[in-house]
């Protein structure tokens, strides 16, 4: 048993050796051709090409005008996931992350500073636009991970709050 998790909802599927079952229903499918990133299959009465990108358990696919994105998780992944979210949730919100890749043009606060919710922490320039990265809550800057001129990736932690 494994699951597809998209938009927060979960669909279970099973590859039982005698066919593919999605949420208990058998899918009528015959693979005709298979290569990296591309599958051609007979699904029901149609022949379909599925183009996809699959990386780190995340699947993005395009098939006959349908775009779909999801995570594919095995039983073990699901179990690990549930353990992780129970303890770490509170801590995660204390990290301020870059919403996009870009260049830090200005760090507006210093370590140990007390900030209010909405205070500008960092100015991030991306695609020639300046974006003010604001504090998600009241707190104290416990850590600053970037300096002026730093190039950051999407989701990189810029600062931590306590």
């Amino acid at each position: 048993m494994a699951a597809i998790i998209a938009d927060g909802s979960k669909v279970e599927f099973e590859d039982g050796g005698n066919g593919l079952f999605v949420d208990g229903q058998k899918i009528d499918c015959l693979i005709l051709s298979r290569e990296a990133g591309r599958i051609v299959a007979r699904i029901g009465d149609s022949i379909r090409e599925i183009l996809y990108e699959f990386r780190d358990g995340h699947l993005e696919l395009h098939c006959a005008g349908l775009r779909f994105e999801c995570n594919v998780a095995s039983d073990r992944d699901l179990l690990i996931g549930s353990l992780e979210t129970s303890g770490a949730a509170g801590k995660f919100h204390s990290d301020v992350r870059a919403p996009m890749p870009g260049l830090v043009t200005k760090v507006c606060v210093s370590r140990g500073e007390t900030v209010k919710r909405g205070a500008t922490l960092v100015i991030l320039e991306a695609m020639k636009m300046e974006n003010e990265i604001r504090s998600p809550r009241d707190g104290i800057i416990s850590e600053l991970y970037v300096a002026n001129g730093a190039i950051v990736e999407k989701d990189q932690v810029l600062s931590s709050l306590e």
Binding site: G17, F68, C70, T105
Partner: protein, 477 residues
């Protein structure tokens, strides 16, 4: 470059280190490296560019529609180097590029302008006074600006200081000029622009309007022509105003006069873009005129090949801009490698794209992937064609604006033609994803992929994939 090839002319490309593998570099007959990655050391370095043009023996320089295309000093430097600048004279670029000067200039020709300051505002006090006078909401705009950069919407007095500061600093970094001015913000306006063509002999014509009201971050995403918002009488009136605006600065070559159209039917001059616009294909589709070819011939001194009466439009055209952006998290730019890109095909579907499978969408430049345009005899048919083309556009590896464009095409406000620049604010929410039917189908497809055997790229070898035995058995059947 395609137009040049059709005209039997040679093309020369310049490229930064990041772009060496981009299709444009090898499409050109010859291509020269600028050396460097950052825009300011490559596509914004006019000395380097002109030196290459001279060394290569170029006759003319086409500035495109970003970077230095609206930089009057670059245009002047090109002219000084004895090269043709395929665009307006540097004086016209300078005066139209200075938004406050432009407002004064066109107002003197009787073209209506938005209430606001005619001079840049210096201090917070002065700004606050002006804002109070015309009433919030207001727009703070870069005097040297364009494309939404250095622009902030200010709804209340409390936000004025931080907006003023960020607009100034953004204007400084984008244009090297921190001056800003204030304009009244017209609520629920429509953004309507007129394409004009002017020769160096004083003849100016317009090629009708483009409706560009679907925007995010004050940047256009969907454009169409003709606009449903204007009547034939208003079209003629605005067209005349556009021609007057162009004449006010002695304009030559292709340009665009932008207006805001208020709910009450009043229109105001916004700015003039002294270059070819990103959205020019839809005008080409409805008028049958290759604007780039006209640009080249005008630069070479030709008189306009058409009189105003000879310009005809037919049918309806729509353009959707495909950007690498995550539309579900506030349209933030996305970067990465395009694992696969496959554009739609078919009658009256036009794709202007600079990338291909394997191309890297980098942090260095605008994240535009392609412009997708469709034409058909009626608006409804052009919309149906656009839906079909958007659905067929395969882009894997980065997130794109395709789902948003598809949402626009489906939305009642768009199909009725009753939309404004507030479309995104009014209708778009980030949870507009797959409906349940599509979700179900998607899950089935995902299950097929996940169980279809180990991905030969090796990247996706999860537990599930490794233990799959089902597909192999099916092959043995």
């Amino acid at each position: 470059m395609r137009t040049l090839r059709e005209m039997g002319r040679e093309s020369i490309a310049i490229y930064s280190d990041v772009d060496v593998l981009m299709p444009f570099a090898r499409y050109a007959d010859r291509a020269f490296p600028l050396g460097g990655k950052e825009a300011r050391e490559t596509y914004l370095d006019s000395e380097k560019i002109i030196a290459i043009a001279r060394r290569a023996g170029a006759d003319a320089v086409h500035p495109g529609y970003g970077f230095l295309s609206e930089n009057s000093e670059f245009a002047a430097a090109v002219e000084r180097a004895g090269l043709l600048f395929i665009g307006p004279g540097h004086e016209a670029i300078r005066s139209m590029g200075d938004k406050t000067e432009a407002r004064k200039m066109v107002a003197a020709r009787g073209v209506p302008t938005v209430p606001g300051t005619m001079e840049p505002v210096e201090s917070l006090e002065a700004a606050s006074k002006v804002a109070a006078g015309i009433g919030y909401p207001i727009l703070v705009k870069a005097a040297a600006g364009g494309g939404g950069k250095g622009m902030r919407l200010v709804k209340t007095r409390q936000d004025l200081e931080s907006s003023l500061r960020s607009a100034k600093s953004e204007a400084q970094s984008a244009f090297g000029d921190s001056r800003v001015f204030i304009e009244k913000f017209v609520v629920n306006p429509r953004h309507i622009e007129f394409q004009i063509l002017a020769d160096s002999h004083g003849n100016v014509i317009h090629l009708f309007e483009r409706e560009c009201s679907i925007q995010r971050r004050h940047q256009k995403v969907v454009e169409e022509t003709p606009s449903l918002a204007i009547t034939q009488d208003l079209r003629e009136e605005m067209g005349k105003a556009a021609v007057d605006a162009a004449k006010s600065c002695g304009y030559s070559n292709a340009g665009t006069v932008e207006f805001v159209l208020a709910e009450d039917g009043k229109f105001y001059f916004l700015e003039m873009n002294t270059r070819l616009q990103v959205e020019h294909p839809i005008t080409e589709l409805t008028t049958g005129i290759d604007l780039v070819r006209e640009q080249i011939m005008i630069a070479e001194g030709d008189k306009l090949h058409y009189s105003q009466d000879e310009i005809r439009k037919s049918g309806h055209a729509i353009e959707c801009r495909i950007y690498a952006e995550d539309v579900y998290s506030g349209f933030v730019p996305d970067t990465g490698a395009l694992k696969m890109i496959r554009p739609p095909e078919g009658n009256w579907v036009r794709v202007d794209s600079g990338v291909e499978t394997g191309s890297e969408i980098s942090v260095y430049y605008d994240p535009m992937i392609a412009k997708l345009s469709t034409w058909d005899a009626t608006r409804d048919e052009a919309i149906s064609k656009m839906k079909r083309a958007l659905d067929e556009y395969v882009v894997l590896g980065v997130k794109t604006t395709i789902p948003f464009c598809r949402f626009v095409m489906d939305h009642g406000s768009f199909s009725s033609g009753k939309y404004s620049t507030a479309f995104v604010e009014d209708f778009w929410t980030s949870d507009k994803r797959n409906d349940s039917v599509e979700g179900r189908k998607g899950s089935e497809l995902a299950a097929i992929v996940a169980t279809s055997g180990k991905d030969s790229s090796g990247a996706g070898s999860s537990e599930v994939v490794r233990r799959s035995s089902w597909t192999d058995q099916r092959f043995e059947d």
